[in-house]
């Protein structure tokens, strides 16, 4: 039907014009298409975030390698807007034939809790988990507390004086801190949340001595940690990160089991045929375990974590629960 390669955007216009024609042809030869082995035409990979961002970059890594694996073009299409809702909705509403799949991200674990959308992982056929980046707690390199215990006692001693930031209200960073405080039975008002546009402005607030704590993933804080302006206290993961072996987990630091992080995976709409799902899952398993994928992800400092469809589902279940706990703790759950 069309033979465009990965990123030729203007071609999408022509593709849209070809839709009626394609529909006609499909209707005419329905029986023959059913017989052809999947995939026999290009695949669309929807990215719910803007081009140039982290999700776009990782999505394009997957697309490049998947193209090689399936021997069919994989076109990345950015469908942005509404805090990722537009793109996520489009993936879940696509025809479940394996020709439209997409990147699903952390926000999917949140929509239901925040009441922004009814979408959850149950609306999708999860195919592979390829990235997780746990949230870590950072403080001022010189003035800041030496460890999490010291921070906690300071917060308890003078409630409301220390301020934390990392992202908007209800974002991953906010919920991770709300969940951490709640799991230690500390009222949230003891460390008020300062909304910001994301990790970079929050770290700027930390460096300029306007706030005391920043919650963000390790790669995002790397530059400021390297420049000795910020110091990492703990990482909210179940085990230590081999890249940062000296950073304690929350459990090691204070004995409370709390972990939360950003994740990214590939999913298709619900109700995909079993053979198509298997074919895609196998191809994606090879992609994510390919050393080249690891190299690409390392270049942008994204943590690679692989889970097959079953493992991805159970990861999403846990994530859904944990984000629920955090959202309720923050008083944002609807």
């Amino acid at each position: 039907m069309n033979i465009e390669t990965s990123t030729r955007k203007p071609m999408a216009l022509r593709r849209r014009l070809l839709w009626p024609l394609a529909a006609l042809l499909t209707a005419a030869g329905l029986s023959s298409t059913a017989l052809a082995a999947y995939p026999d035409r290009p695949i669309t990979l929807i990215v719910p975030w803007a081009a140039g961002g982290g999700t776009d970059a990782t999505g394009r890594f997957v697309a490049t390698l998947l193209e090689r694996e399936l021997k069919q073009p994989v076109n990345v299409v950015n469908r942005t807007g509404g805090g990722g809702i537009v793109g996520h909705t489009e993936i879940s509403n696509a025809k479940p034939d394996g020709y439209t799949i997409g990147v699903v991200t952390t926000e999917l674990s949140l929509y239901r809790w925040l009441g922004t959308s009814q979408l959850t992982y149950a609306n999708y056929t999860p195919l592979v988990l390829y990235n997780t980046d746990p949230v870590a707690i950072h403080v001022q390199a010189e003035k800041g507390p030496k460890n999490l215990n010291e921070l906690i006692s300071a917060v308890k001693a003078k409630p409301g004086v220390m301020k934390a930031s990392g992202a908007n209200l209800g974002g991953l960073a906010h919920l991770s801190v709300a969940g951490l405080l709640t799991s230690m039975n500390i009222p949230l008002a003891s460390m008020p949340w300062v909304p910001s546009e994301g990790a970079t402005p929050s770290l700027q607030l930390l460096a300029s001595d306007a706030i005391e704590v920043v919650a963000t993933t390790m790669p995002e804080a790397q530059t400021m940690v390297d420049a000795k302006r910020a110091r990492t206290l703990v990482i909210m993961a179940s085990k230590r990160d081999p890249v940062y072996p000296d950073v304690l987990t929350v459990k090691e630091a204070v004995g409370v089991d709390w972990s939360l992080g950003a994740w990214r995976g590939i999913a298709g709409p619900k109700g995909m045929p079993a053979d198509v799902t298997t074919r895609l899952a196998n191809a994606l398993r090879k992609v994510v375990n390919d050393p080249e994928f690891k190299k690409l992800m390392d270049s942008r400092k994204f943590g690679v974590e692989f889970a097959d469809p079953a493992g991805f589902v159970s990861y999403l279940q846990t994530a859904q629960e944990r984000f629920g706990v955090a959202a309720k703790a923050a008083g944002l759950a609807k």
Binding site: V86, N168, P192, V194, T200, P201, Q204, S208, R229
Partner: protein, 509 residues
């Protein structure tokens, strides 16, 4: 120092890239083309470049914008000189002067002196950018949301007060921009604002379709509307002679003008909302005021041309200082550039100077390369200008409109964005007819979210006390300065108003 040289050599390594060099050349050619066509501005060239930069590396994207705008501003002098129609508004200040020179048979001298002074001004601005930006950035690392709030507020004030001569219309434009910036989710609570049920509006209005609409579509409409007034070229000017002949002597005779133009241009460029247009007008009038022979101005005298030519190119580089250090654009071009930088993962701000130092050095070098390239390419453009000027405007408009539609669609594959682009084209055309300037709208749109977010963040940090905005020393100083600016301008406006009222009363009698 050793650190500096290792960064610099890394930057040179980044420049030695075939893709980058070809991007610079193609963007330059595009800039020369757009600049040489009357009615098409450097901002429009940049807006149309954005969808293409999508496929480039971050450095190549910046390189494309830098070289394209430098070429466009310079090439704008050519039609002004030859047929008395400025190619870009930045050349309008001295169009009559260069045209008078052409009529005296001095076309080569006019073009040569404006070209060489442009190169000198551009190089000076680039060097200032190179030195001032990192110094400011290391200082800006101590800035928190309080300081940024005041800075953004001052940026807004500049937009309304400086970029237009008419305070009321400037304020109206600014408020339109600020209103547009509120569309989308509330940054604090995520509550949708002014989305009218469109999911596409939830994330806010997309900046690039608006820019394409406001600059490219609006200018197409303007050109069509004024077509009947447009002078047909009846007499074809004689081929331009050797443009570099005797220019060295001319520039050194007016070295004081060149220097003053370059300094003033850089400073004005760095002010938010004031770009090359204003720099050129101010420099030209300054040149006249301080000239020993002011009576020669307007009769084909190169003095003002040299000063203003240096100023408008210097302003281009100057505008990048606040854009890179604070993310506060100095003019409409850098407003677009800031959007491109963010899209490419190079978020402007002091941290950029720590994490991406070699890329920044490479950007400075691009400024130098682009300005040096002006000499050969500008020479070529002057040779090729006449055939270009004979292209019928209607055919050109059709091609540009096609690129507008393609560009707006390509960014998000969204038909909605095409609608946004067309709507803003029409709205901006109407506003233009009413004399409402575009600059403040763009700055309101870019700085609005910055003011809002930094205000909310600061209020959260200060536990809701307004005094928090004055408690940090730098923030306090900036706050007092901002209030003084507002007070001064308001007072002047009120006095001007009462003066006008008096005049009106007198003339009534």
């Amino acid at each position: 120092m050793e650190h500096f040289f290792s960064q610099l050599s890394a930057a040179f390594g980044m420049l030695a890239d075939v893709q980058l060099i070809s991007v610079v050349l193609v963007a330059s050619a595009f800039g020369l083309f757009v600049g040489a066509i009357p009615g098409l501005t450097a901002t429009m060239a940049t807006a149309l470049l954005v969808p293409v930069t999508f496929y480039m590396t971050p450095l190549a994207a910046v390189a494309a914008i830098v070289s394209c705008t430098a070429m466009a501003i310079t090439a704008g002098d050519i039609p002004g000189c030859l047929i008395r129609m400025p190619g870009t508004p930045a050349s309008a200040a001295y169009t009559d002067e260069t045209y008078a020179m052409t009529r005296r048979g001095l076309a080569a001298q006019a073009l040569g002196s404006s070209l060489v002074s442009s190169v000198i001004g551009g190089l000076f601005g680039a060097i200032v950018l190179m030195i001032a930006a990192p110094v400011l950035a290391s200082y800006a690392l101590r800035f928190s949301s309080f300081e940024y709030f005041w800075l953004a507020l001052m940026g807004l004030s500049c937009a309304a007060f400086i970029s237009s001569s008419d305070l009321l219309r400037g304020m109206i434009a600014l408020l339109i921009g600020l209103f547009l910036a509120t569309v989308g989710m509330d940054p604090l609570t995520g509550t949708p604002r002014f989305d009218f049920g469109f999911t596409a509006l939830l994330g806010g209005l997309n900046f690039i379709p608006i820019m394409i609409g406001m600059f490219a579509v609006c200018e197409i409409m303007n050109n069509l509307a004024t077509d009947s007034e447009r002078v047909r070229i009846k007499e074809i000017p004689k081929p331009v002679g050797r443009i570099f002949a005797g220019i060295g002597g001319l520039i050194s005779r007016y070295r004081r003008n060149t220097a003053r133009g370059a300094v003033l241009g850089t400073l004005i460029g760095a002010l938010p909302g004031a770009g090359g247009d204003l720099a050129a007008w101010m420099s030209y009038s300054l040149a006249k005021r301080f000239s020993k022979t002011p009576e020669k101005f307007g009769t084909g005298h190169p003095e003002g041309v040299i000063e203003a030519g240096a100023a408008n190119n210097a302003a281009l580089s100057g505008a990048w200082v606040p854009a890179l250090v604070f993310g506060i654009p100095g003019d409409a071009v850098t407003a677009i550039a800031v959007g491109v930088l963010i899209m490419k993962g190079l978020n402007p701000g002091p941290q950029l100077f720590e994490s991406q130092a070699p890329t920044l050095y490479a950007i400075y070098l691009i400024f130098i390369v682009a300005n040096l390239l002006l000499l050969p390419l500008g020479w070529l453009a002057i040779r090729l200008a006449m055939p270009l000027l004979r292209i019928p405007p209607h055919q050109l408009s059709a091609v540009i409109l096609m690129f507008c539609i393609l560009g707006s669609y390509a960014i998000n594959n969204s038909i909605f964005d095409i609608g946004v682009m067309l709507l803003f084209g029409v709205v901006s055309f109407v506003l233009g007819r009413l004399g409402v300037p575009k600059g403040p709208i763009i700055l309101g749109l870019v700085l609005g979210p910055m003011v809002e977010m930094n205000f909310l963040t600061s209020m959260a940090i200060a536990d809701g006390r307004f005094l928090g905005f004055f408690e940090r020393p730098i923030a306090g100083g900036l706050g007092v300065a901002a209030i003084l600016i507002w007070g001064f301008v308001l007072m002047r406006a009120l006095r001007g108003h009462s003066d006008k009222a008096k005049h009106a009363a007198k003339s009534d009698m």
